[in-house]
C-alpha cells in the first residue's frame, strides 16, 4: 500500500498541475489589481477579494491533492451517488436558495455561499462516464442516447428553474464526449443546424426562411426521386424544420427572460444599447482594446480600476488581463488554456479505461466551453452569459469545482496502469 501510494504521486501529471497553479496565480494577481487603490495600499488582507481568492486557491489545491489520496475506483463506483447528491443540492437550492442578481443559485452555509450548479458539472461528468463506459452500451442506438441525454438534461432543467441560463448552457459541452464515444455525427449536425435556424429565425422573415427550407427540401427530393424511402424522410425533416421555426419563435419570445433576449439581440446586432445591457460589453472591449500590444502594466489599468467594467473580478476578469497585460498577456493566458485542453485530451486518449477517457473528455469540454464563452463575451463575440473564467475568475464555488474536476481526472490518470 505504501509503495503504491508513492507511485500514485509519481504518476501524477505535474505539467497539468503547474498550469493549474499558474492560472490560479494569474487570477489572484488580476483580482488584486482590480481592487488596488494607490491611496489605500494596505498590506495583505483576508477581507479583500484577492485575499479570499488566495484562500480559495489554497484550499482548492489542498482539496485537489487530497483527492489524489482517494482510491481511483471510488469515483466510478460512487458516480451515481455523487450525481444524486448534486441533483439533491439543485433541488435544495430551489427551496432555501439565496437570490443573488435574479438567480436563486446559492445555498448559504455560514459566511460562504455554495453554488450547486458548479458541482453538478462533475457529478454529471462522472455518471455520464460511468454509464457510457459500462459494458454493451453503444452510442449508435436510440436507447443509450436517450439515457445519456436524460443524465445531461435533468440538471439542466433544474438549473433552468433557478433560472441560470449561463450555467445551464455549460452542459451542452457534454455533447463532445458523446461524439467522441460514437454519437452519430448527424445528430450533432442536426443540433447545430437547429441552433443556426434559431438564429436565422431572428434575422429573416418567416416567409423567406420557409420558402428556402422548402426549396432545399425539394432539391433533395429531386435528387433522390428514385428512392421512395428517402423522399418520405426528407419530406418529414422539411416539415419538422418548418414547425421548429414556429416553436423556436415561441421559445424566444415566451421562455427566455427579457434580459437574455436583449443580450442575444445585442450580439446579433439586432439592437443597439450603449448604456443598458450593451454597456458591459462595450466597457470590457474598451478596457481590453486599450491594453494594446504590451498593456498598461500591472496595477496601471484605468478602465478596470475605475469601475467602468461591471462584474470586474468575476465574469469580466479577462478585461483586466487585456488592459494591463495587453495582447501579450492575452496570448499567454489563451496559450495556457489551449495547452491545458490539448494536454487533457492527450492524457484521456492514453487511458486504458474508457471511464477515465470519457471523464477526461468531459472536463476538457467543460473547460473549453467556459473559456470560449467567457473570453468571447468579453471581446464581443458571444452573448453575455454569466459564466466564470476557470481558475482565474473570483469565486470559491467555481474554483473548487474546477479543482475537483481536474484533480479527479489526474487521480484517474495516475492510476491508468491499474484496472478499475
Amino acid at each position: 500500500m505504501q509503495h503504491q501510494s508513492n507511485r500514485f504521486f509519481f504518476n501524477v501529471d505535474w505539467i497539468t498541475i503547474l498550469i493549474y497553479i499558474a492560472l490560479c496565480a494569474i487570477g489572484v494577481a488580476n483580482i488584486y489589481s482590480t481592487e488596488y487603490n494607490p491611496d489605500k495600499a494596505a498590506a495583505f488582507s483576508l477581507g479583500s477579494s484577492y485575499g479570499k481568492q488566495l484562500i480559495f486557491a489554497g484550499t482548492g489545491l489542498i482539496l485537489g491533492l487530497s483527492i489524489l489520496l482517494f482510491d481511483a475506483k471510488f469515483f466510478s463506483v460512487f458516480a451515481p451517488v455523487i450525481y444524486g447528491v448534486t441533483i439533491f443540492l439543485l433541488l435544495v437550492v430551489l427551496v432555501v436558495g439565496r437570490n443573488v442578481g435574479g438567480n436563486q443559485a446559492w445555498i448559504p452555509i455560514g459566511s460562504f455561499r455554495l453554488q450547486p450548479s458548479e458541482f453538478a458539472k462533475f457529478g454529471t461528468a462522472l455518471l455520464l462516464a460511468r454509464y457510457i463506459s459500462s459494458f454493451n452500451v453503444k452510442l449508435n442506438s436510440l436507447k443509450p442516447i436517450l439515457i445519456s441525454g436524460a443524465i445531461i438534461i435533468l440538471p439542466m432543467a433544474l438549473i433552468m428553474l433557478q433560472p441560470d441560463a449561463g450555467s445551464m448552457l455549460v452542459f451542452l459541452s457534454f455533447m463532445f464526449p458523446l461524439y467522441r464515444e460514437g454519437l452519430p455525427g448527424n445528430l450533432l449536425i442536426i443540433f447545430w443546424g437547429a441552433v443556426l435556424l434559431f438564429i436565422l429565425n431572428l434575422f429573416l422573415s418567416p416567409f423567406i426562411l420557409i420558402s428556402s427550407i422548402l426549396l432545399i427540401g425539394g432539391l433533395f427530393i429531386y435528387n433522390n426521386r428514385k428512392r421512395q424511402q428517402k423522399i418520405i424522410s426528407i419530406g418529414v425533416i422539411t416539415l419538422i424544420a418548418i414547425a421548429y421555426l414556429f416553436v423556436a419563435k415561441f421559445l424566444f419570445n415566451n421562455v427566455l427572460q427579457p434580459h437574455q433576449r436583449t443580450r442575444i439581440e445585442l450580439i446579433l446586432g439586432l439592437a443597439k444599447d450603449n448604456k443598458g445591457a450593451g454597456y458591459n460589453v462595450i466597457q470590457a472591449k474598451i478596457a481590453i482594446g486599450s491594453g494594446q500590444f504590451t498593456g498598461r502594466g500591472f496595477l496601471q489599468g484605468t478602465q478596470t480600476k475605475l469601475k467602468y467594467v461591471p462584474a470586474q473580478s468575476t465574469d469580466f476578469i479577462f478585461s483586466t488581463v487585456g488592459e494591463e497585460w495587453g495582447f501579450v498577456g492575452c496570448f499567454v493566458v489563451i496559450g495556457l488554456y489551449s495547452f491545458l485542453l490539448l494536454r487533457i485530451v492527450n492524457i484521456a486518449e492514453r487511458q486504458r479505461s474508457s471511464f477515465s477517457r470519457i471523464y477526461g473528455y468531459c472536463i476538457a469540454c467543460i473547460l473549453f466551453f467556459h473559456v470560449f464563452i467567457n473570453i468571447g463575451m468579453a471581446i464581443g463575440l458571444m452573448p453575455v452569459i454569466g459564466i466564470p473564467l476557470p481558475f482565474i475568475s473570483y469565486g470559491g464555488s467555481s474554483l473548487w469545482s474546477f479543482s475537483i474536476l481536474l484533480f479527479i481526472f489526474l487521480k484517474l490518470d495516475s492510476n491508468r496502469m491499474g484496472f478499475i
Binding site: 474598451i286 482594446g289 486599450s290 484605468t302 469601475k307 467602468y308 488592459e323 495587453g326 473570453i375
Partner: protein, 663 residues
C-alpha cells in the same frame, strides 16, 4: 474504434481553431485598431486646464497698448445641481427664466456629468455679487480667465482682435485649442499668437464610472503648470499713432512711418478704425457686425492691403534709376511747354516751366521732365520694339528691388502683393510685342499699371533716406525678456543704386518742401529739414487721392513717412501737412501751430472726407419692372458719391497753389 479514434483530432482541431479566432479578434482590438485606446482615455482621463495670462503688448517706449482684465465664466455640472432659487441667480447674471431654462437644457444636452459653460465672460462687478451667493448654487462653479483691455483705444487694426476658436482653428492647431478658447484673429494678436498665448497648464484627472475625481493620472507626471505668454514690445510709437488716428479721423486713408535705420514701423494708421475695446467680452458679436457693416470697411488694414497708384511719389525712384543708368545727370534740362508729345498722344503737364532741371523737376513735380526721362530710359538701347521690350524688362527688375511688385514680408498677417507688370504682361495686355515707351508712358508718373501699398511707398522713402538700402519693415522690437526678433529683419537689402546718385534727388525733395516753388510747402517745419514729395493720384471713382511721402531730417534721417488721404485732392492739401505734424511730433515731441497756408492741426482733425453712401432699399416693390432684371443688387445699393464736408476749412486748404494734374 479506429474511426472513433480519429474524432479526437476533430475535437482538438476545434480547440485550436477557437483559440486562433479569439486571438485574432484580440489582435485586431489591441494592436491594429486604436479606437478602444482612444475611447478608454475619453472614458477615464479628463484634462483640466488652467489658463495663462496672455502676453502684454507694449509700444516702443514701453507704454501699454494691450493688457489683460479678469473675467469669469460660470460653469455648470447638470447632475450635481440641486433645486435652488433660480430667480436670484438669474437676477445676478442678468438673464430671464426662459433663457435660464434654455441654457440649462443646452448644458444637459452637452453632458449631464461634465462641466460646461453656462454663462460666458461675467464682469468683475457681477462676479463680486455672484461670489457671495455661490454656496447656494450647487453644481455651479466659476472659472477665472482673462480678456484684453486696450488702455488707449488706439491701433485697432494693428493690434487685431481675438475671438473664440472655430472648429477649423481647433483642427489646424493640432490639439492645443479646445472649444471656447480664444485665439488672435487678426493683427499682432494673430501673428504672434504662439508667443502671446503662453502655455495652458494641464492636470490629467482620472474620473471613475460615477464621474467622481480619483486623483491625477500617473502621479501627476504628465501634468504641467500654466506658463504666461511673452510680453511683446512693438515698434509703434503710441504718441504719433494716436496723433495719426486723430488726423485721419473721418477720412479714409493710411499713414505708415518707418525708422529708416532699423526698418521699425513707428506708426501704422488705417482709417477708419474702431475702438479695439469694442471687440472684447460679451459685446463682441453686435459690435463686430456693426463694424463689418460699415461701408468704409474698417477691417481693411490699409497700410498693407490698400492698393494705390503711387502717382508722383514714384518720381524720385524714376530719377534715381535714370541717374544710375546714366541717361541723365543732375544738370540735364528738358523743356516743358506744358505738355509732352509721345507718338501721336499728348500728355498734359499743368504748368509751363520752360527749361527745367532735375532738382527743380522733382520740386515742381514736372510731368514733362519725367516723361522725357522715361522715354530716354526705355530707348537707351535702341528704339526698336524688341530693344524697348528688353530694356523695360531690365528697368522693372530695378524697380522691383525697391520692394514693389511683391509683398515686403512684414511680420503682420494679410499683406497683399500688388502686381508690377513685366514685359510679358504688357505683351498680353497689348496682345502683341509691339509696344514701346509711348504706350506705357503713364508709368513714368506712377499711374497706370503700377500699384503699391502705403507700406511700400513708405519703404521707398526709407530707402532714399538710407541712401540705397532698406531693412524689412517690421512691427515687433522684442519678444519677452531679451528674446530677439527674427534675424531676417536685420539684413540690409541694397537696391543696387550707388549712394552718390541719391543726393541730387534728395536736393529736389528738400526743395519741394522748403522752397517757395515746391509742391509740399505745407509740410515745412522749422529747424528741421524735411524732404518730401507729393502725389495726387487719379482715382476713377471720385476725387483724387492726396499722397505725401517724405523723410526727416535730411541728414541722418529718423523717420520716413507715407500718408494717403483718399479723396483728399492734391498731395499738398492733406497728406503733406498731416505728415509734417506726425514728423514734428516724433522728432520734437511737440506741435507748432499753423502751417504755411495758415491752417491749424484742428482743421485737419475735423475735416470730414468720408464718401457719402446713398443707400437705396435693397428690395424694390415687386410690381416695378426693375425687380425682374437681374442686376447686381449690391452695386445698385451702394452708389458711391464723394462729398467733401462743407466747412470753412475746405475753402482754405484746397486752394491749388500750382497747376498740375500730378504733383
Amino acid at each position: 474504434m479506429d474511426q472513433l479514434f480519429n474524432r479526437k483530432y476533430i475535437i482538438q482541431g476545434l480547440f485550436v481553431l477557437i483559440a486562433i479566432i479569439l486571438l485574432g479578434k484580440l489582435f485586431y482590438m489591441q494592436v491594429i485598431s486604436d479606437k478602444y485606446f482612444l475611447s478608454a482615455n475619453n472614458n477615464a482621463l479628463r484634462k483640466i486646464y488652467t489658463y495663462p495670462a496672455r502676453g502684454v503688448i507694449l509700444d516702443r517706449n514701453n507704454k501699454v497698448l494691450a493688457q489683460n482684465q479678469p473675467t469669469y465664466d460660470l460653469l455648470v455640472t447638470p447632475n450635481q445641481v440641486k433645486p435652488f432659487d433660480t430667480l436670484s441667480l438669474c437676477n445676478i447674471i442678468g438673464i430671464d427664466m426662459i433663457e435660464f431654462r434654455k441654457k440649462f437644457q443646452k448644458a444637459i444636452v452637452q453632458s449631464r456629468y461634465q462641466e460646461s459653460i453656462f454663462q460666458k465672460l461675467i464682469s468683475v462687478e457681477t462676479y463680486a455679487s455672484l461670489q457671495e451667493k455661490m454656496f447656494n448654487y450647487r453644481g455651479f462653479s466659476v472659472r477665472k480667465r482673462t480678456i484684453r483691455y486696450y488702455p488707449d483705444s488706439i491701433a485697432s487694426q494693428f493690434l487685431g482682435y481675438m475671438r473664440e476658436v472655430t472648429p477649423k482653428d481647433i483642427e489646424k492647431h493640432a490639439g492645443y485649442y479646445k472649444s471656447g478658447d480664444y485665439i488672435g484673429k487678426s493683427g499682432i494678436e494673430r501673428e504672434y499668437e504662439p508667443v502671446l498665448r503662453g502655455t495652458k497648464g494641464v492636470t490629467n484627472m482620472l474620473y471613475n464610472a460615477h464621474n467622481v475625481a480619483q486623483g491625477s493620472y500617473a502621479n501627476g507626471k504628465l501634468d504641467s503648470l500654466a506658463v504666461s505668454g511673452d510680453q511683446l514690445t512693438s515698434t509703434i510709437d503710441s504718441r504719433i499713432q494716436k496723433l495719426g488716428e486723430q488726423l485721419l479721423a473721418n477720412k479714409v486713408g493710411s499713414i505708415v512711418a518707418i525708422e529708416p535705420s532699423t526698418g521699425e514701423i513707428l506708426a501704422f494708421v488705417s482709417s477708419p478704425g474702431y475702438d479695439p475695446n469694442k471687440l472684447v467680452g460679451n459685446s463682441f458679436s453686435p459690435n463686430y457686425r456693426e463694424i463689418f457693416a460699415n461701408p468704409n470697411r474698417p477691417f481693411v488694414v490699409r497700410p498693407i492691403q490698400g492698393g494705390y497708384s503711387p502717382g508722383s511719389a514714384f518720381k524720385p525712384l524714376d530719377a534715381l534709376i535714370a541717374l544710375s543708368e546714366g541717361v541723365v545727370d543732375p544738370n540735364t534740362t528738358f523743356n516743358c511747354p506744358g505738355y509732352y508729345i509721345a507718338g501721336n498722344r499728348k500728355f498734359k503737364c499743368e504748368h509751363v516751366d520752360g527749361n527745367i532741371s532735375l532738382r527743380r523737376g522733382i520740386a515742381r513735380s514736372c510731368n514733362t521732365y519725367f516723361y522725357n526721362i522715361f522715354a530716354k530710359l526705355m530707348t537707351k538701347n535702341g528704339g526698336s520694339y524688341a530693344k524697348q521690350h528688353s530694356t523695360y524688362e531690365a528697368w522693372q527688375n530695378m524697380v522691383r528691388k525697391f520692394g514693389i511688385g511683391d509683398t515686403l514680408g512684414i511680420d503682420f498677417p494679410g499683406e497683399k502683393a500688388y502686381k508690377l507688370f513685366r514685359a510679358a504682361d504688357y505683351d498680353k495686355l497689348h496682345r502683341s510685342k509691339y509696344w514701346g515707351n509711348t504706350s506705357i508712358m503713364s508709368v513714368a508718373i506712377g499711374q497706370g499699371e503700377i500699384n503699391t501699398t502705403p507700406l511700400q511707398i513708405a519703404n521707398i522713402m526709407a530707402i532714399i533716406a538710407n541712401r540705397g538700402y532698406y531693412l524689412k519693415p517690421h512691427v515687433v522690437k522684442a519678444i519677452g525678456n531679451g528674446k530677439g526678433i527674427d534675424p531676417r529683419f536685420k539684413e540690409k537689402h541694397f537696391v543696387g543704386i550707388d549712394a552718390r546718385f541719391f543726393e541730387p534727388v534728395i536736393d529736389g525733395m528738400q526743395d519741394a518742401v522748403n522752397q517757395s516753388w515746391g509742391t509740399a510747402t505745407e509740410s515745412r517745419l522749422q529747424n528741421i529739414i524735411m524732404c518730401g514729395k507729393t502725389g495726387t493720384v487719379q482715382n476713377s471713382r471720385g476725387k483724387n487721392h492726396s499722397v505725401f511721402i517724405g523723410f526727416a531730417p535730411r541728414d541722418n534721417p529718423k523717420i520716413a513717412i507715407a500718408v494717403i488721404v483718399e479723396n483728399g485732392g492734391y498731395g499738398g492739401a492733406y497728406a503733406a501737412p498731416i505728415a509734417s505734424y506726425i514728423t514734428e511730433k516724433y522728432l520734437t515731441d511737440s506741435l507748432s501751430g499753423r502751417r504755411i497756408n495758415g491752417s491749424t492741426i484742428e482743421m485737419y482733425k475735423e475735416a470730414n472726407l468720408l464718401p457719402v453712401f446713398v443707400t437705396k432699399p435693397l428690395v424694390k416693390p415687386l410690381n416695378t419692372p426693375d425687380s425682374l432684371k437681374k442686376t447686381d443688387s449690391l452695386k445698385k445699393a451702394l452708389p458711391l458719391k464723394t462729398k467733401v464736408a462743407q466747412n470753412q476749412f475746405n475753402k482754405l486748404a484746397i486752394k491749388p497753389k500750382v497747376n498740375a494734374t500730378s504733383k
